[in-house]
Amino acid sequence: MAWFKKQQFTALRATTPRDRVPDGLCAKCAHCGSIVLSRDMEENLLVCPKCGRHQRMNAAQRIEQLVDPGTFVETHATLASKDPLKFKDVRSYPEQIRRYQKRSGLVEAVITGRGKISGIDTSLGFMDSNFIMASMGSVVGEKVTRVFESAIENRIPAVVVCAAGGARMQEGILSLMQMAKTSSLVAKMREAGIPYVPVLTDPCGAGVAASFASLGDVIIAEPEALIYFAGPRVIEQTIRQVLPKGFQRSEFVQEHGFIDVIVQRADLKSTLANILAILTHQEVAPAPSASEAVG
């Protein structure tokens, strides 16, 4: 008889996607691997207390962090993807969409609406990388377009928290055309003199980077976010060289002149409010104290 009997393992499927901080007691930093109490991580706005890396935040967390409590009104919440190409894959596109909806609790990769940032009425979009890496299909393109249209109609500034990890291949050319659709509205924003401030978060690439994310009047990014047109792996395969350290991170992109402000998450709301207030000739309302901040 063996002294140590091999235990029988059962493979358990993770119920949450791996890139999300689990709801358990502990959270692991996606960068340095430190295990910290979930509560500490959350109190620190999902910024690792050990190394300072900004973990990915979902749309609901963004709304909670940036929008004044009780002021957010969601718009076009039911706008959903169709399958215009009848895309042939092992799993159908509608089936994939349903799986992501179930997993993320989202209908699509962006939540849009209207709300106040430190008292400033703003047209808002929050992209969420938990939904097919926040790739831009027709729904994302349409909803972001409507964020701008609402901003113009109501003469209020627009803020879009941008994220995207790639193209929505299942929508083919229509995915590409969303770049044109959204950018055409940024052109109208400029014509109308309405400010637009994108906030670039990790990762922000491909079609979103090559359209509305790069077209802000003032462009904000979170620290160390990966920001790119071509992904690092594609570049490595093309040029067959190891990429320099820090390549395509916010700080690198800012150094090359394509980002205005890099701001710690804790200061993101006040920075946004300050910029929006200046561009719209308003005063910033004093931040409510914690006791008042009941949503």
Binding site: L85, V139, M169, G172, I173, L174, S183, A210, I235, F258
Partner: protein, 317 residues
């Protein structure tokens, strides 16, 4: 130089060889002439059969054919008084894109064309038609110049993608493309485009916001190449033909999806088999559309351009 051919064309080539041999060795058979005519008819039928039932991937291969007419071929054939304009006035001249002034049917126009090479040396110089940010900025410089002097702009698209490299990222590939897309909505002259070969993703759209978009029937235009899509979805670039089917990237597909306005027919077997015919097709189409677009008021033009792209996308409300 041997003409590049593809597997699906092999039966045609074999038959062509057979006819050639037959011609070169005239025997005493009194039926020789008849046999030759029979073979020639067979060849014509075979060509029609093969080339009128091309799969999307076969069209992608034809779009990449080494001898396919390039932007400069079209420019030098269907335009006159061509003067190339170089440089973005910031960093350098990007040879992957040519821009310039010319006349079309006697009337002044501006031209933007993505330019691939036809041999290795030229392709290295042209970076295989893959533009850097300075290329997109050069295109916008020319388009703004055209706007100042009321010249309609003809845009020829032929790129396997914007270049993915360190310098391109450092100099803001994403910003250059984004800005072009946005600014093209404000240009107060007609913009008319044609995909003559490959229309890969942001690399193509970065010069591709136009009032009227045409596409040759053996060209492709999509958010990703079939190889790229296959590698991501199925971790196997060899699955590219399946991806080409799924992506709906041909002119017929894009016409159906209302992303382009016209599909241009090509000579049997592809534009490289009869470049003059392909050029004449483009010339005729340009003639019609430039006349039509130039007749519109600028405000109407801009409104319609905006509305056209505003309507793109399929979703459930």
């Amino acid at each position: 130089m041997a003409v590049q051919t593809f597997d699906f064309e092999r039966p045609i080539l074999e038959l062509e060889d057979k006819i050639e041999t037959f011609r070169n060795e005239p025997d005493d058979d009194p039926n020789a002439g008849k046999n030759l005519r029979r073979l020639e008819k067979e060849l014509a039928d075979l060509k029609t059969k093969v080339y009128s039932n091309l799969t999307p991937m076969q069209r992608v291969l034809l779009a990449r054919h080494m001898m396919r007419p390039r932007s400069l071929d079209y420019i030098q054939t269907i335009f006159t008084d061509w003067v190339e304009i170089k440089g973005d006035r910031n960093f350098r001249d990007d040879p992957a894109l040519v821009t310039g002034l010319a006349r079309f049917d006697g009337k002044p126009v501006a031209i933007v064309g993505q330019q691939k090479g036809k041999d290795t040396n030229e392709n290295v110089h042209r970076n295989f038609g893959m533009m850097h940010p300075e290329g997109y900025r050069k295109a916008m410089r020319l388009i703004r110049l055209a706007e100042r002097f009321q010249l309609p702009v003809v845009i020829l698209i032929d790129t396997p993608g914007a270049y993915p490299g360190i310098g391109a990222e450092e100099r803001g590939q994403a910003e250059a493309i984004a800005r072009n897309i946005m600014e093209m909505f404000t240009i107060r002259v007609p913009l008319i485009g044609a995909v003559i070969g490959e229309g890969a993703s942001g690399g193509a759209l970065g010069v591709g916001v136009v009032d009227y978009m045409m596409m040759f029937e053996n060209s492709w235009y999509c958010v990703i190449s079939p190889e790229g899509c296959a590698a991501i979805l199925w971790r196997d670039a060899a699955m590219a033909p399946s991806a080409a089917d799924a992506l709906k990237l041909t002119a017929t597909d894009l016409l159906e999806l209302q992303v382009i306005d016209e599909s241009l027919p090509e000579p049997l077997g592809g534009a490289h088999r009869d470049p003059k015919a392909a050029m004449e097709t483009l010339r005729q189409a340009l003639l019609r559309q430039l006349k039509r677009l130039s007749a519109k008021s600028v405000d109407k033009l801009l409104k319609e351009r905006q509305a056209k792209y505003r309507a793109m996308g399929v979703y459930a409300e």
